[in-house]
């Protein structure tokens, strides 16, 4: 029942937001500021995660395919699993954990300090003022961050294959190049775009719903990151079926 109730509230939130956007487009300056903040602040964390995703894909791929006698499948496996699935999902998960929780807790703090009510009193639509720049900012940067994560993942896998496992880097690169197509990269960027929309809308929604006091802020942040993670992974499966199924 509680789930249905929040789903209904989320629908109302979306309708209100759509109306606010239709009435007046958000200012470009605010969008760029959010894009800069989300993109640049999340970049170090994202790159570190992408390195370790790449190393582990290479290790596990080499291990799994060594049993089957297919050493040179590592490149294919890393390219497929990394480019198509792991890099977009992990990039989205990290942005949700870093930028999404920040959005939720900032808006929740504004809610409990009655700054959002103050905006309404001044006849500024809080959805237009707070949500729209965050949504458009994240939509602008997440596809680019996804591509960066893909390249760092592949680079880290290459390093593990050559330096740690002592296999041929040329074979790895040839396999990877034969597997990854421009369409794969484009699909991953589309995935990043869709994940960005979910991260921004859901995180802001939970921020607006925050209850009273410090617990309210903590709970809103917590609910935002969990809901976003589950939604991103489920959407990822649906998009993969549409693109590759």
């Amino acid at each position: 029942m509680r789930f249905l109730e929040s789903a209904g509230r989320f629908a109302y939130f979306l309708v209100d937001f759509g109306r606010a956007m239709a009435r007046r487009p958000p200012s470009l300056g605010a969008i760029l500021e959010e894009a800069f903040r989300i993109g640049v602040r999340s970049l170090p964390v994202l790159l570190v995660i992408a390195v370790f995703v790449g190393t582990n894909l290479a290790l596990q791929g080499a291990n799994a395919f060594a049993q089957l006698g297919g050493q040179n499948l590592v490149g294919t496996f890393v390219a497929m699993a990394g480019v198509r699935e792991m890099a977009p999902v992990i990039a989205a998960a990290m942005i949700a954990a870093k930028a999404g929780t920040e959005m939720a807790s900032q808006i929740a703090v504004m809610r409990i300090r009655e700054q959002i009510d103050a905006l309404e009193v001044m006849a500024v639509n809080p959805l237009w003022y707070l949500v729209a720049p965050r949504l458009l900012g994240i939509v602008l940067v997440l596809p680019a961050l996804t591509i960066l994560a893909i390249f760092v993942t592949l680079l880290a896998s290459w390093a593990v294959v050559v330096l740690q496992l002592g296999q041929s880097g040329a074979v790895f690169l040839a396999e990877a190049r034969a597997t990854v197509t421009g369409a794969d990269l484009a699909f991953s960027m589309v995935k990043g775009l869709a994940f960005g929309v979910i991260i921004a809308l859901v995180s802001c929604f939970f921020g607006f719903q925050a209850g009273r006091g410090p617990e309210g802020v903590g709970r809103a942040t917590n609910a935002a990151v969990v809901t976003v993670s589950v939604a991103v992974v489920c959407l990822n499966y649906l998009l993969s079926v549409v693109f590759y199924g």
Partner: protein, 250 residues
Amino acid sequence: MMGTLALLGQIGLFAARIVQGVLTGRMPLSALAFHLHTVVIRCLAPVLAVVFPFGMVMALQGLQIFRMYGAERLLSPFVAAAIIRELSPVMASTLVAAQGGSSFAAELGAMRIKEEIDATDVMAVDSVAYHAAPRAIALVIACPLLNVLGCVSGILGGYVSAVWIQGEPAGTFWAALWDMTTPGDLWASVLKTTVFGAIIGLLSCFFGYHARGGAAGVGKAVNDTVVWSILVFIAANYLLTSAFFGGGTS
């Protein structure tokens, strides 16, 4: 640089106080049971809901590779290995950090802001042993438990995708799975997630316990918990994977 070293030192001391609280028996066992129950219930649905679609995706993509070589029967051991060794530990721990760790950080942060932790100290009760230790230990125990359930969920996801949707034979799927998956993989997975649980438990309680600056400070503690625990356990994952699976490739 000095700031980072000081922070690492503080985290180390905090870990020592948790261990001390456990060893001296000052950690209330009833609190441990309560928090363990809470965290498992809170994280169960998210963990199952995240690993299941990952199993489906692995089956979807893996089948494309194996169909090129006509080796479809290898699909189920491949999915099981990917889920048990890597995806379930990483995704389950991510969700435990996002749900369990962050809610513990939020609870402890709110207690700190409302001066409940100071009140505990004033009553001559060791606040780390009383408030932080049961939560941290609960995460150490909960993480491997949830991971095993996540493995089951992921393999079922692979089954649904491969057998129901792609039409592979069910008998081959299960037979190859039992043939080629070893208990060693599962033990490695459990050991990994125990370490991840310790990382999440330590960092979430540390950031929550040291929250300051009102309601915004609680939000920041939750944010720091999620980001840093995921970052640290993913780095630890590389080392553990290298130790368990890295040597035997040649």
